[in-house]
Amino acid sequence: MPTLTLIQAVNDGLHTSMKEDPSVHVFGEDVAKKGGVFLATENLETEFGTERCFNTPLSEDGIIGTAIGMAMNGLRPVAEIQFQDFIFPAFDQIVSEAAKLRYRSGGQYTAPMVIRTPYGGGIRGGLYHSQSGEAYFCHTPGLKVVIPSTPYDAKGLLIASIADPDPVLFLEPKALYRSVKGEVPEGHYTVDLSTTRDVREGGDVTVFCYGAMVPVCTKAAESAAEGGIETHVVDLRTLLPLDEEAVLDAVKRTGRVVVVHEAPRFCGFGAEISAMIAEHAIEYMEAPVIRVTGFDTPFPNTLEHHYMPDHRRVLDAIEHVYNF
C-alpha cells in the first residue's frame, strides 16, 4: 500500500473520483497548470483535460455560485477556495443558496457539490491565511462540514463527500498537508461521513479534537500517559452532522472531557460539545468540560505559535480535569 502525505491523498481522492465519475469537475483559482497553490490538484488538468479541471476568474462568489448551477444541472462540482480565509465573498452563495436549496424547493432541486479549502494556522500566514472558520458553517443547516486529519481519511472522506447528495464543505488542515504521512489504499474506498475515529484509547480523560489539533492532542495524551493518565483521543472528522451518539458514548466512559480547536472559543465548536454534554450526560461528569482553543482574537502572525493550542496547553487541561 502506498504511503502518502495528506495533500497527496487529497490529490489521489480527486483523481479517483474524476476517473470514476465523468460528471466530476474540479475548478478554482490556480488549480489547472499550477495544480493549486498547495498542489492538491497537481496533474489533474493534464490527465482529465481543461474541460474538467480549469482555472476560474478571481471571484470566490463566482466560483461557488456557478458551482451551484452546475450541481443543479447534472455536474458534480468540486470547487477549490484557495484559502478558507478567502471564502467569505462566497458566504452568501454557500449559506443562502447551496445550503438552503433542497429545503426551499421541497427537495425538487439540490446542490450536491464539494467545496475544498485549506484552513488553519501554522504556516506564518497571518490573519488571512490561517483562520479556522468551521463554526460559521456549522451554524448553517443544510451543509455538511468535514475535516480529515490523516491521509487515509482525507482520501476516503473526500470520495464520500463527492458522492454525497448534499453540499459538503471539506476543510483541509494545511499544517498537516506535508507533515503527516500514512498508508492509503489505491483506487476507490470511502470513509463514512458523520463517524468519529478513535485515535487513542484511554479510560481516564476524553479529548475531542479535529484537523491539525489531532496530532497535538495525541502528543499531549502521550505526555499525560507518562504521568499515569490514560487519555481517549477522539477525532471528530465530520462536524456537521455530528455523530452525537459516539461523542456522548466517549464522554460517559471517562466523565472528564477536554475539547480542543484552533478557532476562537466563543461560540466555537467546543461550545456545542459542552452544551451537548450538559444536556445529555451531566450525570456522568466528574469535572467541568475544559476548552483549549485559539484566543477570541483575530489570528496573529508572529505569535501564532502562542495563539494555537500546543500539546502543553492540552496537557495542562488533561491534568486539570483529571485532578479536579
Binding site: 489547472a32 482555472n55 478571481l58 490573519l127 488571512y128 477570541d296 482574537t297 502572525n301
Partner: protein, 376 residues
C-alpha cells in the same frame, strides 16, 4: 470640461523600450527626473535584498516587485501629499517614496516588535498612516470599495483629497471592483482606479481571467473614462496619473487608469512560475525593463554620468543592509499583543484568556520578563 476632453491628451508612451523619446515631453525639472531614478532603483534594491533574506530563511514571504517599478513609482509620483494610496501586494515601493520609512518597511517584513502592525499581518503587508497609506487585507479587491467610501467622505467634508486605488488585473473579476466602480461613478467620487495589469493573477493569465482583456474598456460600464498606458514607462505612468488626479480633484469624478506591465518573478517567493508560463514571454518583458529604459533616457539627456547609477545603487543597498541589521536585533514581540487592539480596550474575557495562557506559559517556562498578567 467633458470626460472625453479631459482624458484625450493622455499619451500612452513617452519613452520607448530602448529609452528613446517617442512623444513630446512636458517640461521637467532635472532634479525631479533624477529623483525618480533613485525611487525606481530603491524599489529594485529593496526587492533584491528581501528576496535574499527570504531565501536564507530570515523572512517568510516576498511579493516581488521586479519589473513593476515604473508602474508603481510613476503613478504614485503624481499623488499629492494629502492624497491616499490604497494598496495591494506590490505597492510597497511606492509607499517608500511617499514616506513609509525604510525601517518600518523592513520591520514589517520581519513582522517584529518594531512593526507598526505589531506582527499581526503576514510579511509584505505594509501601512503608513502619516502618508495616507492604510492597512490592507490579503483578500483580493476589498480595498477598492474602501477607497471609494473614503473618497466620498473627503467630498462630504469638502477637502481636496484624491484616492488612488491600486489593484491587479485579477481583482477586476472580484465583486468589489464592480460595485466600487459603480458607486464611484454614481457618486462622482474623487478616485483614480489604478489597475496594475501585470499579466498574471498567480498562474491565471488574462485569457482565463476575462473575455475583455482591454481592461480600460471596463470603465465604460460605469460611466467613467478608462485609459491605458505603457506601465514600464515611468513618465507615461506619471503623466496619466497626474491628469486623472487633477481631473478628480477638480470635481469631474473617477477614472480608471490601466498600466500594462509584467510580473517578472512568481506571484510570491512561494510560487514557481515555470510551471505555467513560457520563458519566451518572460524574456520579451525583460527586454522592456522599466529601469534600464529610464536610465538610458537620463544618460542621453546628460542627467546621469557613466557609473553614477552604480554609485547610487551601492548607497541604497548600504542603507538597506544597515536597516536590516538593526531590525534583526529587534526585541521579542510582547505576549500581551496577542489580545490587544481587538477592541479599543481589552475586554474582561480576553484579559482572562490571556492570564490563563500566561499561567500555562509560566509553568512551561515560555513567559518573558514584563509579560505580567492583566488585572481582572
Amino acid at each position: 470640461m467633458t470626460i472625453v476632453d479631459s482624458t484625450s491628451e493622455i499619451r500612452e508612451q513617452y519613452l520607448g523600450a530602448d529609452g528613446a523619446v517617442t512623444s513630446e515631453l512636458p517640461d521637467y525639472d532635472d532634479a525631479w527626473l533624477r529623483d525618480i531614478f533613485v525611487h525606481l532603483l530603491r524599489v529594485r534594491c529593496v526587492d533584491q535584498r528581501m528576496l535574499k533574506l527570504q531565501r536564507s530563511g530570515r523572512i517568510g514571504f516576498v511579493g516581488s516587485m521586479l519589473g513593476q517599478e515604473a508602474a508603481m513609482i510613476g503613478t504614485a509620483a503624481a499623488l499629492r501629499r494629502q492624497d491616499w494610496m490604497w494598496s495591494g501586494l506590490r505597492e510597497g515601493g511606492a509607499a517608500l517614496m511617499r514616506g513609509l520609512p525604510l525601517s518600518e518597511y523592513v520591520a514589517q517584513m520581519y513582522c517584529n516588535s518594531n512593526d507598526t502592525a505589531k506582527g499581526r499581518q503576514m510579511c509584505n503587508h505594509f501601512q503608513h498612516k502619516d502618508s495616507n497609506y492604510p492597512s490592507w487585507s490579503s483578500v483580493i479587491g476589498t480595498q477598492i470599495a474602501h477607497g471609494v467610501g473614503a473618497a466620498f467622505a473627503a467630498k462630504r467634508k469638502g477637502v481636496d483629497e484624491v484616492h488612488a486605488v491600486y489593484f491587479g488585473d485579477g481583482a477586476t473579476s472580484s465583486n468589489p471592483f464592480h460595485s466600487a466602480m459603480n458607486f464611484a461613478g454614481v457618486w462622482k467620487a474623487p478616485v483614480v482606479f489604478v489597475c496594475v495589469n501585470n499579466g498574471w493573477a498567480i498562474s491565471v493569465p488574462a485569457s482565463q481571467q476575462t473575455a475583455q482583456p482591454d481592461y480600460a474598456r471596463k470603465a465604460a460600464a460605469y460611466g467613467m473614462p478608462g485609459v491605458t498606458v505603457d506601465g514600464n514607462d515611468v513618465l507615461a505612468c506619471c503623466e496619466a496619473s497626474k491628469a486623472l488626479v487633477e481631473r478628480a480633484s477638480a470635481g469631474h469624478g473617477p477614472a480608471l487608469l490601466v498600466v500594462n506591465t509584467y510580473r517578472l518573478m512568481g506571484h510570491s517567493s512561494s510560487d514557481d512560475p515555470t510551471k505555467y508560463r513560457d520563458a519566451d514571454e518572460v524574456d520579451s518583458w525583460e527586454k522592456r525593463d522599466p529601469i534600464a529604459r529610464y536610465k538610458k533616457f537620463l544618460e542621453t539627456r546628460g542627467l546621469l554620468a557613466e557609473g553614477e547609477a552604480d554609485t547610487i545603487e551601492a548607497s541604497l543597498l548600504a542603507e538597506i543592509d544597515s536597516t536590516v541589521h538593526a531590525e534583526e536585533a529587534a526585541q521579542p514581540m510582547p505576549l500581551k499583543s496577542l489580545v490587544e487592539d481587538v477592541y479599543a480596550d481589552v475586554p474582561r474575557h480576553l484579559r482572562a484568556q490571556y492570564n490563563e495562557f500566561l499561567r500555562v506559559a509560566e509553568r512551561f517556562g515560555d513567559a518573558q520578563r514584563g509579560d505580567g498578567a492583566f488585572p481582572l
